[in-house]
């Protein structure tokens, strides 16, 4: 056990956690933000993608302790109050989600991808989503969403 503190969606969170606590469990259970999901146990589905110090990572493949002192943004921290982030808005407008389970991770991956590459091509989007699995959409509308989101984000 030991205390960790980190910034989660702009808010300082200080909690006592066991050393073997995964970051995803810290977020979901200790803090109670359940928007980040767990869809597999081999680090492949990407339902748990969050931003850690500005880059996308899989929260299921990190210990909470490894995130000590970092700044984390989860899906709950993306919108600006009631106003959706342009990528969230793009997913809505382009029907880029169905059951919604993979969506938080998908959106977090998309935001990072586009932040790094504003003029992203369809092939780059498809490649960039390699770490996120969706079973509902066939990806067609997700790709359209990311494209539209990129345009909204200034691409």
């Amino acid at each position: 056990m030991g205390e960790i503190s980190l910034k989660l969606n702009g808010k300082l969170e200080t909690k006592d956690v066991a050393d073997n606590t995964l970051l995803i469990d810290f977020i979901r259970e200790h803090v109670g933000l359940t928007g980040t999901h767990v869809g597999c146990d081999t680090s492949q589905c990407g339902a748990c993608v969050i931003h850690l110090d500005g880059v996308s990572v899989k929260a299921c493949t990190m210990l909470a302790k490894q995130a000590e002192g970092s700044e984390i943004v989860t899906i709950e921290g993306l919108a600006d109050g009631d106003e959706l982030h342009p990528m969230q808005q793009a997913f809505h407008e382009n029907h880029g989600l169905q059951c919604g389970f993979c969506t938080p991770g998908m959106v977090m991956s998309a935001v990072e991808m586009v932040t790094k590459n504003k003029n992203i091509s369809e092939d780059e989007i498809r490649k960039g989503l390699e770490g996120n699995i969706c079973r509902c959409t066939g990806y067609h509308n997700i790709v359209q969403s990311v494209k539209a989101g990129a345009a909204k984000m200034g691409g």
């Binding site: 073997n20 979901r28 933000l33 359940t34 928007g35 980040t36 999901h37 767990v38 869809g39 597999c40 146990d41 081999t42 492949q44 589905c45 339902a47 989860t74 899906i75 709950e76 993306l78 919108a79 959706l84 969230q88 997913f91 809505h92 407008e93 029907h95 989600l97 169905q98 059951c99 919604g100 389970f101 993979c102 969506t103 938080p104 959106v107 369809e122 092939d123 989007i125 498809r126 490649k127 989503l129 390699e130 996120n132 699995i133 969706c134 079973r135 509902c136 959409t137 066939g138 990806y139 067609h140 509308n141 997700i142 790709v143």
Partner: protein, 794 residues
């Protein structure tokens, strides 16, 4: 196409109202819900496929840190709790019925597949439960596992009640007429195909949270279900023998189902049972490995096909002999999927005068096999459309033309097939033509030649499928062995201010019902969509309904809503007549207003609602106050979506990699309520079909160990495996429901595998390749190329 009358009415691509919560992380899936005092359940599962349990020693686990209970099959047996049931059985050729062995909640005496639950540990935390489970000592007497279902009748008997490991041997159609047709045929095309075994893989793993309230002796179960009411029925009536009113089942946001969340699984039942035993809420959530091991799998058939043609290449008969794998236990729909939902589809879009099929359903030491997107219809379509393509090539016709001359002509509807179904309406040439146009079929050979210059093999393949969805009517379903009704319910409650609450018995787990159903209501009542809220998934709130599967929600559930709205309008007319001092017959309802015909006297819908709830000026002597109506809609027939999908592929002969370079889908779903959502359903279905055809395969080794039990080995389609899709529609509105709609959820998964495999074979046809099993993995395609080349060299 539909005429769009309102910006958010029927026929318009309204953006989904449910999106915002999912996009902001506020969706509430079962695992997101926690209850005070909650404990965690972990299931100790068999790691052998077939064994007798000699003993289970749980002593060490009982006293492990954090443990509040350890239970085995004998505890379940002591409380006389029943197991999951089979929801549909069929008669066998010998006159007997389907053999239904018991399925205990926790293994009793025997384990029958890797993953079979042997014990449950309930502890304060999941880690503690797992640690304690490691202390349980199970002594097995291993038996020879039965894995190869085609030879399952020769294997060790898995259930006492199932001789030769054969659950059923069923038949449909006229065997002698069919055999006669085959004997007299100018040509008989023969084909053996295998429909590979798949794992549904909804992204949300299954989860259950059960709570017992000792005050009123009732239970609440949150669970990942496609049909909470059926879950409640099975749990209450068949397992726990309690009144349904003592069990509330809530299926909150559910992260995809694809069939795999229809059934009542042992885990949710054990949680319910344990919650009372322990007196605390019990939660269980599967990890992905457990999902692979214990979610019902899909498909797993082999089919031997004989297609008889006359001298004009017209089909005169079809015989299909099928063996399918149903796994260790029968689950809810496992029997109906390979029989009723498969055999009745064998006529496809074709006028076939004689059809016969028989199906043997086998028990094996693998997890149960049940419905997976399409459920029986993809298997039927696959064998039929592979055979159509093969036949076209064998008789030297263009596959499109061969299909065309065998289509049921459009003036032949309603068309009675030789396999029980009567198609109400359809017109198949337009979607074939349109799909061919969408993919520029006529210039394909130019593209093939261009690819050849780059050293690539390009191929094109099609599939003209039919689907029967929205199972109905109940009387027919019952006659065919179904044990439940197949109607759907709706309750439409007009609130005093004119807003509407719609309660549906169907369930949305990605399909967008909150939007589509609201569109129907808003359109019919002429009110804004924001005023309509759709509620589903809670047995305490919604009327008893069947849930969502088999592309039934709109055709059955949407129609029920439409009927309930009609009742609202009828009653509203009576209220309006009173308020407007006119005869009810003179009241017209249009654009949200009740108007006295030929006058400017009118009442808005909101005024009627208010009058109904504040009946100061109201015909109380003839009419009850309030404005709320129920409808239970039992359709008179299935609905029959159809379409043509065409796939274009390129194959790299050096690696065997198949790239899907183009896809055209033209479907006839009748009227579309929300084209955007329909298109999303088509995309998702195609992706799953491409997954089946190129990537996915559940593989058990000869000892019954599942070797593809994670995303490391089970190949899920990812964004870069798939192309963008061209989607188009034709429309013959369904003749027997008010909305003229058919189902769209499964079409993509039904149509796409044969189209793709036909394209792969077409690409390799210059090499003499005539067959390819699914999935057409790079290795398999490469090997086929190598073998064809070595044959050519000889």
């Amino acid at each position: 196409m539909n005429e769009v009358t309102k910006i958010d009415g029927i026929g318009s691509s309204v953006r989904r109202t449910e999106d915002k919560k999912f996009l902001t992380g506020k969706g509430r899936y079962t695992d997101d819900i926690n209850r005070p005092g909650q404990v965690q359940a972990y299931f100790l599962r068999s790691d052998v496929a077939h064994a007798e349990i000699k003993s289970i020693d749980t002593k060490a686990a009982q006293s492990a840190p954090g443990v509040v209970g350890v239970f085995t099959g004998s505890d379940i047996a002591a409380d006389k709790v029943g197991g999951p049931i089979c929801g549909w059985v069929v008669p066998c050729r010998d006159g007997s019925s389907t053999k239904e062995p018991p399925h205990p909640l926790l293994a009793q005496g025997k384990v029958r597949f890797v993953g079979d639950a042997v014990a449950v540990v309930v502890a304060e935390t999941m880690e503690q439960a797992k640690s304690a489970a490691e202390l349980i000592d199970v002594d097995y007497n291993e038996l020879t596992p039965v894995v190869d279902f085609v030879k399952a009748d020769e294997g060790a008997q898995i259930h006492e009640e199932v001789p030769n490991n054969c659950y059923f041997d069923w038949e449909l159609g006229d065997e002698s007429a069919t055999n006669k047709a085959i004997e007299s045929a100018a040509k008989v095309v023969k084909l053996s195909v295998r429909n590979n075994r798949l794992v549904p893989n909804a992204m949300e793993p299954r989860s259950a949270l059960a709570e017992y309230d000792s005050l009123d002796e009732s239970y609440t179960l949150h669970t990942t279900s496609q049909n909470p009411h059926l879950t409640r029925l099975v749990l209450a009536a068949f397992m726990f023998a309690i009144p349904e009113s003592k069990l509330r089942v809530i299926a909150p946001d559910v992260g995809g189902g694809f069939g795999s969340k229809i059934y009542v699984y042992i885990e949710e039942a054990v949680c319910v049972w344990a919650s009372k035993k322990i007196g605390r809420p019990v939660k269980w959530t599967a990890d992905r490995t457990q999902a692979f091991l214990t979610d019902c799998h899909g498909r797993d058939h082999v089919n031997d096909v004989q297609l008889a043609l006359d001298e004009n290449n017209k089909i005169i008969g079809l015989r299909v002999d099928t063996v399918c794998n149903l796994g260790a236990y029968l689950s809810a729909f496992s029997v109906v999927v390979p029989t009723i939902l498969h055999g009745t589809l064998l006529s496809g879009q074709y006028d076939i005068p004689a059809i016969y099929t028989n199906v043997k359903g086998m028990a094996t030491n693998t997890v149960n096999v049940d419905a997976y997107r399409g459920a029986g219809r993809p298997e039927a379509t696959y064998l039929l459309e592979r055979t159509m393509e093969t036949a076209a090539k064998e008789v030297g016709m263009d596959p499109a033309e061969f299909r065309r001359i065998n289509f049921i002509p459009k003036d032949a509807f309603p068309y009675q097939t030789q396999v029980a179904l009567q198609y109400d309406i359809g017109d198949y040439e337009p979607h074939l033509d349109k799909a061919m146009e969408m993919i520029d079929y006529s210039n394909f050979e130019k593209r093939r030649a261009e690819a050849a210059k780059r050293g690539m093999y390009r191929g094109i393949g099609m599939s003209s499928y039919i689907e029967a969805c929205g199972l109905a009517p109940s009387a027919v379903v019952g006659a065919l062995g179904g044990r439940v009704g197949q109607w759907e319910s709706a309750s439409v409650r007009v609130n005093p201010t004119g807003t509407i609450s719609v309660f549906t018995g169907s369930h949305s787990h990605g399909q967008g019902h909150a939007t589509t159903f609201a569109q129907i209501v808003a359109d019919k009542l002429g009110i804004p969509m924001e005023n309509v809220e759709v509620i589903h998934g809670d047995t305490d709130k919604t009327p008893f309904g069947m849930g969502s599967y088999g592309s039934r929600s709109l055709a059955s559930g949407g129609s029920a809503i439409s009927k309930a709205v009609d009742k609202i309008i009828n009653k509203s007319k009576k209220i309006a007549a009173h308020l407007l001092e006119a005869s009810e017959d003179d009241i017209d309802f249009k654009d949200g207003k009740f108007v006295v015909g030929g006058t400017d006297k009118e009442k808005a819908f909101g005024e009627i609602a208010l009058a109904a709830y504040v009946p100061h000026n109201y015909p109380l002597e003839t009419l009850e106050p309030g404005l709320e109506e129920n409808a239970f809609y039992d359709p008179t027939n299935f609905v029959f979506p159809s379409g043509t999908h065409i796939a274009e592929v390129e194959i790299d002969p050096a690696t065997g990699v198949v790239e899907v370079v183009d896809w055209a889908a033209c479907d006839d779903f009748g009227n579309l309520v929300n084209p955007m959502i329909v298109e999303g359903q088509v995309h998702g279905g195609i992706a799953q079909g491409i997954g089946q055809a190129l990537l996915e395969d559940a593989h058990y080794d000869e000892n019954g160990q599942l070797l593809t039990a994670s995303y490391m080995d089970y190949c899920m389609p990812r964004a870069d495996d798939l192309p963008s899709f061209k989607v188009g529609y034709t429309n013959t509105p369904c003749t027997h429901n008010d909305l003229g709609v058919k189902g769209c959820g499964e079409a993509g998964a039904i149509a796409s595998p044969p189209a793709l495999i036909n394209a792969v074979i077409d690409a390799l046809s210059p090499l003499g390749v005539t067959d390819m099993s699914m999935p057409a993995t790079p290795q398999k395609v490469w090997k086929a190329i190598q073998e064809s080349q070595s044959v050519a060299a000889e």
